[in-house]
């Protein structure tokens, strides 16, 4: 069997550096992406967040804002910043293989 580990250099990315094709995403790839954005080894709490936002994306077509995430997932904002330091909203989406959250203006 071929290695499941995709070569990050061959993946097609969107203009924000997120996965262009959601079908390219895998659990292994998530871990690799986590290393590249200085999140490190993914633990159970990381996975709770990733699974939550992937499910929300399926339902709503968008990455949930941090407020909804903390209200519904039981992960506090403080913990979110510990799990995904410096800009959790973008990093979570990137690791979960989702586009950058839409900014509201």
């Amino acid at each position: 069997m071929e290695s499941l580990t995709a070569d990050l250099n061959t993946l097609s990315l969107d203009k924000d550096g997120h996965l262009a094709n959601r079908e390219d995403w895998s659990i292994d790839l998530a871990q690799q992406l986590a290393y590249t954005c200085e999140v490190g080894e993914l633990n159970d709490r990381h996975w709770e967040v990733i699974n939550f936002i992937r499910a929300e994306f399926e339902n709503t077509g968008d990455t949930p804002p941090i407020r909804r995430l903390t209200k519904q997932s039981g992960v506090s904002i403080k913990e979110l910043y510990q799990l995904f330091p410096k800009g959790p909203a973008k990093k979570m989406a990137k690791i979960a293989g989702l586009p950058k959250p839409k900014g509201c203006i």
Binding site: R67, I77, K78, C104
Partner: protein, 400 residues
């Protein structure tokens, strides 16, 4: 909407009722000018009763709860109203209580907002005797009402302190949760240049977690610290609590609304306008104005049992004060970001898009007259609610 509907609906068939918790109408775009003494309190307030049609019933009361499944609105004064159609225009309010320590000991002493009449006037008072120091403007989180207002505030502050010969004593910094001065790339680039020219600092990607009142610091969730002598805060914006009590809103009490028809997602006979919606269009007065034309058409269609064919495109049009008697203008919608060009007549103007000019400033100052005399009375402006691409161009260099 009330003035438009009053003209269109047969009074023998329809009762028009408006509920408002406040008898005074505030010209909210004017709040920005209060701290700098450009406008006074009397310039921005008028009694609402002046603007309502005589045969509509005006009830002054807060809302306790909306019960959309029973077509009822329960008022704080104890009255229960039944409706055939409901338009919700409850807007957004600032919530300093959402940030730990923000409305603590320093609130309206060293920490001010300028999105309420009280905050803007308290800040005007503070500026009278302030001798300078670190002025920090912090945006707590998006979305906020009038996303350009914080930048305008900074430009006006720069101008104000220059004119008072104390610009060298004031260090001005924008601290924002965004990764640039503004959300849309081309405008963010232009506005970022402006800030640089005026010597205004920027700290990006800063999500405020708390305010340390004793140490005069704001601290982000990831423990970055910014010190201030004066904090001008744009706190979390939320829909009113009655929306939460009615279980009609999202996590910020904004009501899920169809982005094109302006019908609420949950109920066919409930329409939503302006800041009360959860739409990704700007929370700005121009948006509510353009939405009003669409909502009016769709409400009349709904009354006649016809399909809702009028479609809102997210159109917003904002003057941006840049100080020293000049201003910029931006025009955009859901799909198209603010671009340079001329407005409203292509190639001619008189307004320049995304470019500083005196005419733009005059447009902004003249707008107050249009607001009190035309818009609020439901009179039409010679302007299409939909955005147009004519007169605009996309700059060749892409800005990251």
């Amino acid at each position: 909407m009330l003035n438009k509907l009053n003209k269109a609906l047969n009074p023998k068939e329809w009762d028009l009722v408006i509920v408002d918790q406040d008898e005074t109408h505030y010209y909210q775009p004017g709040f920005l000018f209060l701290p700098f003494g450009i406008y006074q309190k009397e310039d921005v307030e008028k009694p609402k009763i002046n603007f309502f049609p005589k045969n509509a019933r005006f009830i002054v009361s807060g809302i306790e709860q909306i019960v959309p499944d029973e077509n009822k609105v329960l008022l704080e004064n104890g009255e229960a109203l039944e409706y055939t159609f409901l338009i919700i225009a409850t807007g957004t309010e600032i919530r300093p209580d959402e940030i730990e320590g923000l409305n603590g000991d320093l609130w309206h002493k060293k920490i001010f907002d300028f999105y309420t009449i009280e905050g803007a006037l308290a800040l005007a008072n503070f500026f009278q005797t302030w001798e300078g120091g670190k002025l920090v403007l912090n945006i707590a989180e998006m979305p906020i009402k009038c996303p350009v207002a914080p930048l305008e505030f900074l430009f006006l502050a720069d101008d104000y302190f220059k004119k008072r010969n104390m610009r060298d004593k004031v260090d001005i910094t924008l601290v924002t949760p965004l990764d640039a001065a503004f959300t849309k790339p081309i405008a963010a680039h232009e506005l970022g240049n402006f800030m640089q020219e005026k010597g205004i600092n920027i700290v990006t990607d800063f999500s405020i977690g708390r305010v340390e009142n004793e140490e005069n610091k704001i601290i982000s969730w990831d423990e970055q610290e910014v010190e201030f002598d004066l904090l001008v805060s744009v706190p979390t914006n939320m829909g009113i609590e009655a929306i939460a009590r009615s279980n009609m809103g999202d996590e910020l009490n904004f009501i899920p609304t169809n982005k094109h028809t302006l019908q609420s997602d949950g109920w066919e006979n409930v329409f939503v306008i302006g800041d009360a919606t959860n739409l990704s269009s700007s929370k700005a007065g121009s948006v509510a104005h353009f939405q009003a034309d669409i909502l009016f058409d769709n409400l009349l269609s709904a009354i006649d049992g016809k399909p809702l064919e009028a479609s809102f495109d997210g159109h917003a049009n904002c003057f941006i004060e840049s100080g020293d008697g000049k201003g910029l203008l931006i025009d955009f919608n859901y799909e198209t970001e603010p671009l340079p060009g001329k407005f409203p007549i292509p190639g001619v103007g008189p307004f320049s898009l995304l470019k500083e000019s005196r005419m733009n400033h005059l447009g902004k100052m003249g707008f107050r007259w249009f607001y009190w005399n035309m818009l609020i009375k439901g009179k039409n402006l010679p302007m299409d609610p939909h955005m147009t691409m004519t007169g605009k161009y996309v700059p060749e260099t892409e800005h990251a």
